[in-house]
C-alpha cells in the first residue's frame, strides 16, 4: 500500500500548484490585470474578464479559519484521530488551503500557521500547515 493519497499531476488548471509544492514552493493564482485572487485556480479572471492570470509566490504564513478533529476513520491511510485545517494566506487574503495534521490539536480561530513541505514517496512534497510558534 502507498503511504500517501497523492494529487493527480499535470492538470491544466491546477497542476502548477502541485509542481511548485514538489519544489518546496507555495503558490497561488491571481489576475495580472486587477489583482483578484482565484481559487480553485483557473485561467480566466471573472472579476475583470481578462485571461492574464499567473501563479504568484507566497511566503507561506497564514491564519487558521476553521478545523475539524476526525475521530472516525474513513480510510486506512488516514488513521484517526487527525485534524483537518483550513488556512487563509497572510499575503493573499481570500486564498484558502486545506492541510492535514496528525493527531488531535487544540486550535483557535485566527491562530498563526505556517507551511511545511511533507515529502512524498514520489520525490515530491505536499504543502501542510502547522501552528507558527515563532509568533
Amino acid at each position: 500500500m502507498a503511504d500517501r493519497v497523492l494529487p493527480r499531476k499535470g492538470d491544466r488548471d491546477t497542476g502548477a500548484f502541485f509542481e511548485a509544492a514538489d519544489r518546496r514552493e507555495l503558490v497561488y493564482k491571481a489576475c495580472d490585470d486587477c489583482g483578484t485572487v482565484i481559487n480553485p485556480p483557473r485561467a480566466r479572471c471573472a472579476k475583470c474578464g481578462g485571461w492574464n492570470t499567473s501563479w504568484k509566490q507566497s511566503a507561506g504564513k497564514a491564519r487558521l479559519n476553521t478545523w475539524s478533529v476526525v475521530h472516525q476513520q474513513v480510510h486506512p491511510l488516514f488513521p484517526a484521530p487527525y485534524t483537518i485545517v483550513v488556512v487563509e494566506l497572510d499575503d493573499a487574503p481570500g486564498i484558502r488551503y486545506v492541510g492535514y495534521m496528525d493527531g488531535a490539536h487544540d486550535l483557535h480561530e485566527g491562530m498563526a500557521m505556517r507551511v511545511r513541505f511533507e515529502p512524498t514517496e514520489d520525490g515530491g512534497a505536499l504543502p501542510q500547515w502547522m501552528p507558527d510558534n515563532a509568533e
Binding site: V5, N39, S68, Q72, P76, V86, Q128
Partner: protein, 398 residues
C-alpha cells in the same frame, strides 16, 4: 421578469407519491427499488406505466431513464432530463418536470431517486479512493486539493462549516442537539421511520460519539436503502385522477454569494462557508410563489446533517443570520411550534433518500395524510441539499 413564473403558479401538480420501505439492507438492486417506488406512485395516482411520457432523474442515481422505462414498461417516452447534483436534485427535478410539461415536452413526468445508501454505496467512506496507490483529482473535480489532505467526506466538510459557524456566532452543540431531537420527535409518530420507535434525549445526543468535531453521531443522517418517486402532471389532469392534487406553486435554484467550482469540498475555500445558495433560492422562490417565509405552514428542510437545517433556517429567512442556533433551541420547530419541520423525521430520523423523501412528505402534508399532520396547513416549503448551489420548491394545498 416573473410573468411566466406567475402564469405557471399552480398549473402543475403532484398527482401521486410512492416510496419503498426505508431500510439498512434492501437485498435488491437500485433498479428494483426505483421500479417499486415508481409503481407505487403510479398506483397512488391511478395511472399506468403507459401514461408516463417523461422521466427526470438525479445524476447521482445509478438508474437512467431508459433503465427505468424499460423496467416499468413505458412504451413512449418523449422527454427525459436530469438535474442535481445529489440532494440539490429533488426540488429541481420537480421543477424540471413542471418546465417540461409547461413547454409541451411531456404530459406526465415521473421523478425519482433510488439508492442502496447503506448496503452498497456508503457516501461516508471516502469512496473516491482505492486503498492502494491512490492518485486523485484533476479535470475540474478539484479533489486533488482535499483528498490528499484527509478531507474526504461530506461529514468532514459540514464539520468545517459548523466550526466556522461556531467561531463566528457562538453556536453550540446543544443547539444542534435540539434539531436532532425535534426530527426524532416527529419520527416517533411515523411508523415508516427507521428511528420511529427510538426516542432521543439531549443527554443521548451530547454523549454520542464524536465523528468529526464538532459533529457527533446524532448530527449525521441515516444511511439508507430505499427509493421515492412522485408523478407530476397538469393540475387540470390531476383533478381527474385518484388523489387530491398537490399544487406546485413555484420552484427556484440559487447560488451562494461566493460560488466556487467543484462539487462539495471547495466550499471551505469560500470567504464565508456558512453562506449557502439557499438564500438566493429562497428569495427567488418567495417572489415567484408570492408566498413569503411568514406564510409557510410547514417545511421539509434538507438535513444531511443538523447543521444543514441550522444554516437553512437562516438562509430561507426564518431567522437572522447567526441566530439559527437560538431559533432551533426556541421550540419553534417542535410539534406545536410555529415552524414544524421534517414532519416524517427527515434524513436524520426517517431515512436518507437524498431529498426525495422530503418532497413526498411535503405532498402528504398538503393532502392531509402525514403521520404528524399539521392541522390546516396550506403551504409547504421543501428545500434541497445546500451544496454547491441551492434549490427549493413551494407546494400548496389544492
Amino acid at each position: 421578469m416573473d410573468e411566466l413564473a406567475i402564469a405557471a403558479r399552480d398549473k402543475c401538480a403532484i398527482a401521486g407519491i410512492g416510496v419503498t420501505e426505508f431500510m439498512k439492507d434492501s437485498r435488491r438492486s437500485v433498479l428494483s427499488l426505483a421500479t417499486e417506488a415508481s409503481l407505487a406512485a403510479l398506483e397512488d395516482a391511478g395511472l399506468r406505466p403507459e401514461d408516463v411520457d417523461g422521466i427526470v432523474r438525479c445524476p447521482h442515481d445509478q438508474i437512467t431513464h431508459n433503465d427505468l422505462a424499460s423496467s416499468l414498461g413505458i412504451p413512449d417516452l418523449t422527454y427525459w432530463g436530469e438535474v442535481g447534483p445529489g440532494g440539490v436534485g429533488p426540488c429541481a427535478q420537480v421543477g424540471q418536470a413542471m418546465a417540461a410539461i409547461m413547454g409541451g415536452l411531456a404530459t406526465t413526468v415521473l421523478v425519482f431517486r433510488s439508492l442502496n445508501g447503506r448496503s452498497e454505496d456508503r457516501f461516508g467512506q471516502g469512496g473516491h479512493m482505492t486503498k492502494s496507490a491512490p492518485v486523485v483529482g484533476g479535470r475540474a473535480t478539484y479533489d486533488e486539493y482535499f483528498l490528499p489532505f484527509g478531507l474526504m467526506t461530506a461529514g468532514q466538510t459540514f464539520a468545517l462549516m459548523t466550526q466556522s459557524h461556531m467561531n463566528k456566532f457562538g453556536t453550540t452543540s446543544e443547539q444542534l442537539g435540539h434539531i436532532a431531537i425535534v426530527c426524532r420527535e416527529y419520527a416517533n409518530h411515523n411508523p415508516r421511520a427507521q428511528m420511529g420507535d427510538r426516542t432521543l434525549t439531549m443527554e443521548d445526543y451530547l454523549s454520542s460519539r464524536m465523528i468529526s468535531s464538532p459533529l457527533r453521531l446524532f448530527d449525521f443522517c441515516l444511511e439508507t436503502d430505499g427509493a421515492a418517486a412522485v408523478i407530476v402532471t397538469t393540475t387540470e389532469r390531476a383533478k381527474n385522477l385518484r388523489q387530491k392534487p398537490v399544487l406546485i406553486r413555484a420552484q427556484a435554484g440559487g447560488c451562494p454569494p461566493d460560488m466556487r467550482g467543484g462539487m462539495m469540498f471547495p466550499i471551505v475555500m469560500r470567504d464565508d462557508p456558512t453562506e449557502i445558495g439557499g438564500k438566493k433560492a429562497g428569495e427567488t422562490l418567495y417572489r415567484k410563489a408570492g408566498i413569503g417565509p411568514d406564510e409557510i405552514d410547514v417545511a421539509q428542510i434538507y438535513d444531511c446533517f443538523t447543521i444543514s437545517i441550522l444554516l437553512q433556517l437562516e438562509a430561507y429567512g426564518f431567522c437572522k443570520k447567526g441566530e439559527g442556533g437560538p431559533f432551533a433551541a426556541s421550540g419553534a420547530l417542535r410539534p406545536g411550534g410555529s415552524l414544524p419541520i421534517n414532519t416524517g423525521g427527515g434524513h436524520l430520523s426517517e431515512g436518507y433518500i437524498h431529498g426525495m423523501g422530503h418532497v413526498v412528505e411535503a405532498a402528504r402534508q398538503m393532502r392531509g395524510e402525514s403521520s404528524y399532520q399539521i392541522e390546516g396547513a396550506e403551504t409547504c416549503l421543501v428545500t434541497g441539499g445546500p451544496l454547491p448551489t441551492g434549490s427549493a420548491l413551494m407546494l400548496r394545498r389544492a
